[in-house]
């Protein structure tokens, strides 16, 4: 399931840079191999996923994270938010126009649903694309340019100052994050083909 894979990847990604996190993954993989030998691969996989989630939840408050990781996480959140907010409103209005039977007050619900779906999908795509630093950097810059252009067009109509300021901040964050992404070496999860 997509949701499972997302949480699983998130757990592995957040544990890997931490020396203790790496040890947790190593121990889990070691136990998984033992369980696979006794109970079979399916049972071992099921155990591994459950234990990984439990361990991640238990260890998360003790995780050490760098300023770079915090910056990347903030940028992911910002990109997902902008993608959602920029695309959800037109979508909600289009849906309500097509389906005339939907009462006006339901537009807000459609809007919120669309924000959740588009934001979640964007965050998922960005996290998965993170396997390759260069691809992630390109996606970050691409997202920055796309949303920046969208804002630029909108700024020609109204709220000029605010939108330009937002655009500058957004592109600056995109550039910094892309540069950080370029320096980030792909790291082994210690899990071999489990990560795919």
């Amino acid at each position: 399931m997509m949701g499972d894979r997302f949480i699983w990847r998130l757990a592995v990604r957040s544990l890997t840079p931490d020396p203790y996190g790496k040890a947790i993954l190593g121990d889990l993989i070691e136990e998984r191999m033992e369980i696979a030998r006794v109970d079979g691969a399916v049972a071992a996989d099921r155990w591994f996923r459950r234990e990984l989630l439990r361990s991640w939840l238990a260890f998360f408050p003790s995780l050490r994270f760098s300023a770079r990781d915090a910056c990347i996480a903030a940028f992911l959140a910002l990109t997902a938010y902008l993608a959602a907010v920029n695309s959800a409103a037109p979508l909600a209005f289009t849906v309500s126009d097509k389906l005339q039977i939907i009462p006006d007050y339901h537009i807000d619900l459609i809007y919120l649903g669309a924000v959740a779906v588009i934001g979640g999908t964007t965050a998922y795509v960005l996290t998965c694309a993170g396997e390759l630093a260069i691809l992630r950097a390109a996606i970050f810059l691409g997202a920055g340019v796309v949303f920046g252009l969208q804002d630029m067009i909108a700024s020609a109509r109204a709220e000029f100052g605010f939108r330009v300021a937002k655009l500058i901040v957004f592109l600056a964050v995109a550039l910094v994050t892309a540069l950080l992404g370029l320096n980030r070496q792909p790291k082994s999860t210690g899990g071999g083909n489990l990560a795919t």
Binding site: A23, I24, G26, D27, I29, E30, S55, W56, A58, L63
Partner: protein, 116 residues
């Protein structure tokens, strides 16, 4: 620079931390995460997650009660290195103090429970 979400360190030893200290001392050279977890399960009958054990170990290391080091990769195909833990002198001292405190409590309780 690294950041942590953990609270301010204290030098008191919690229940799980005490068990982990004890098990680490008993395991000596074989004290690494998975083995500590198995041993904690055997001694307490409770199934802790690997993450919970490592969270305790990190707190203990922050307090200076244990130190850790990474081993060479295991000499098997795809062998991984393990993080081993060793009790420090303050760790042994903290364990001794905690055990003495518990013994004193039990001694008092035993006296109180004696039939008159």
């Amino acid at each position: 620079m690294v950041y942590s979400l953990t609270y301010m360190p204290t030098f008191a030893v919690g229940e799980l931390e005490l068990v982990v200290l004890f098990v680490t001392l008993r395991l000596a050279d074989a004290a690494y995460g998975a083995e500590i977890r198995r041993s904690v399960r055997d001694h307490t009958g409770r199934e802790y997650s690997v993450g919970a054990i490592y969270a305790s170990l990190r707190r203990l290391e922050d307090k200076g009660f244990v130190r850790s080091f990474e081993s060479e990769p295991l000499p098997v195909r795809g062998g991984r290195s393990r993080r081993y833990f060793v009790l420090t002198t303050p760790g042994r001292s903290a364990l001794r103090k905690a055990v003495l405190l518990k013994r004193r409590f039990w001694k008092d309780l035993t006296l109180e429970w004696q039939p008159r």
